[in-house]
């Protein structure tokens, strides 16, 4: 969640010079230490830009991972000033002020660190895999050899749309107080995705996922601390998804819940689509213009010397 205050702060000019305190880890010696870097800033500089600047100009041994630089791939999650954020989405101006130009950058908590700011997401992705994040049908041919799409109304889509925005950046996992000590806990991301597929009308096997989440390290370990939703950069709201998932699990165990509706395959169209022949425009033409003739002529634009010199 980008707070309104932070959005305001991002419009400001950052302090001229900031100090980046980067928590680094060397796997060869097994030591974690803090290193300080002083860098000059510019308007619109993000933390990722700052780290890249350090890598290019000051210390080439600093290791980071990033890919898209625009908050879509979810590789550059790190703890900036104590809060998990995407480095590419965080402006220097939003976290540093003239009075306090110190920014601390740490690798994500609760996820094994490979080196410096690079974390190992293998357990995280394993848990995501465990909840079977794909559409399952009673007849698997409907997915494997799909000829037609499944029907879904806009309202049904809105039910799950928010949760399908997850980019798997691991910020919620890093913020959760339960993953802080229980490495087997599925984590907010996997549980939110389990709810997303259970609530999806196209899915026909919610029971299989309920079995996976209904363990000692599943959805009942969640205590609704809500930090997952507070740090999510995409407003996925895992906290609400886990509470709904837990309600479903409990009511299912009591025999009061079953999937209300599953959608069917769309099937072939009842009427063939209307064919429309392309035509040249006939109305509102410049006087004397003939579109058919113009389409065949090559386009030529005459540049004057003045235009080219600009």
């Amino acid at each position: 969640m980008l707070e309104a205050e932070e959005l305001e702060a991002a419009k400001r000019t950052p302090p001229k010079e900031v100090i980046l305190k980067v928590k680094r880890y060397n796997p060869e010696t097994g030591k974690q230490y803090i290193k300080e870097y002083k860098i000059l800033t510019y308007r619109g500089m993000t933390i990722l830009d700052a780290l890249n600047y350090i890598k290019e100009n000051i210390d080439p041994t600093l290791t980071t991972r990033y890919s898209c630089r625009m908050g879509v791939c979810g590789s550059c999650g790190m703890i900036i000033n104590g809060k998990p954020r995407l480095a590419c989405q965080t402006q220097v101006a939003a976290v540093a002020t003239e009075e306090n130009p110190v920014i601390t950058v740490e690798p994500l908590y609760n996820i094994p660190v490979i080196r410096d700011l690079v974390t190992d997401f293998t357990p995280f992705f394993e848990k995501h895999k465990m909840i079977m994040p794909y559409i399952m049908r009673k007849n698997p041919k409907e997915v494997d050899e799909a000829e037609y799409e499944f029907l879904m109304s806009p309202e049904e889509h809105l039910e799950i749309y928010e949760y399908s925005l997850c980019i798997m950046c691991g910020l919620c996992y890093s913020a959760c107080p339960v993953t802080a000590s229980d490495p087997e806990y599925l984590g907010p991301q996997a549980l939110a995705q389990a709810y997303r597929y259970i609530a999806d009308v196209r899915d026909e096997e919610p029971e299989k996922r309920i079995v996976v989440v209904d363990t000692e390290h599943g959805c009942h370990r969640c205590h609704f601390a809500g930090t997952c939703s507070a740090v999510c950069p995409k407003m996925v709201d895992p906290a609400a998804a886990i509470q709904r998932l837990r309600k479903i699990t409990l009511f299912y165990r009591l025999g009061l819940w079953r999937k209300k509706k599953t959608s069917r395959v769309a099937g072939p169209l009842e009427k063939p689509l209307r064919k429309i022949e392309a035509q040249y425009p006939t109305h509102n033409l410049v006087e004397g213009a003939d579109p058919e003739k113009q389409a065949k002529e090559p386009v030529s634009i005459d540049f004057t010397d003045e235009m080219l010199s600009e």
């Binding site: 309104a4 996820i111 925005l165 107080p177 205590h223 609704f224 906290a239 509470q243 309600k247």
Partner: protein
Amino acid sequence: MNKTQKQRVKMLQNMIGFFRASLNPWVIRVKFKENPERVAFILHRVSGAIIAFYLLAHIIVTSYTDDPLAWERILNTLSSPWNKVGEWILATAIIYHGLNGIRLLLVEFFGVGIGRPELPKPPYIPPSFKGGQRKALYAVFILSIIGSILSAVLIFTGKLPI
């Protein structure tokens, strides 16, 4: 990752740990008004642990009280001012745990108060923070403070001023 790679790369676990995560609400530095649920969770956990350990002690203490003399003796040893403070802390813990428990019961068991899924729009506040549970949480905090003051009056003066 295969076995030889695992041996060469020594990874740092970087876990926050149970006690830091369940005692310090600002181990992840989010503002209170941004995420009061985390404070509520920690208070719920701490108060729950206090009550659970008191319950075990209470069962043992009351098991030694089958005659009036023993009862008097135990009451005398437990009537020191520090025990009164302990009683007051316990009463506050029970009031908070009960009130927050009602809120959690509604949210976790019945799934109410967490809004409906919606299209993300600025200023990007998750629906679960806009729902009724947030208002209920502030009500829980205020009612707990009132209850705590009333229980202090009852325990330290012996009477309620009604």
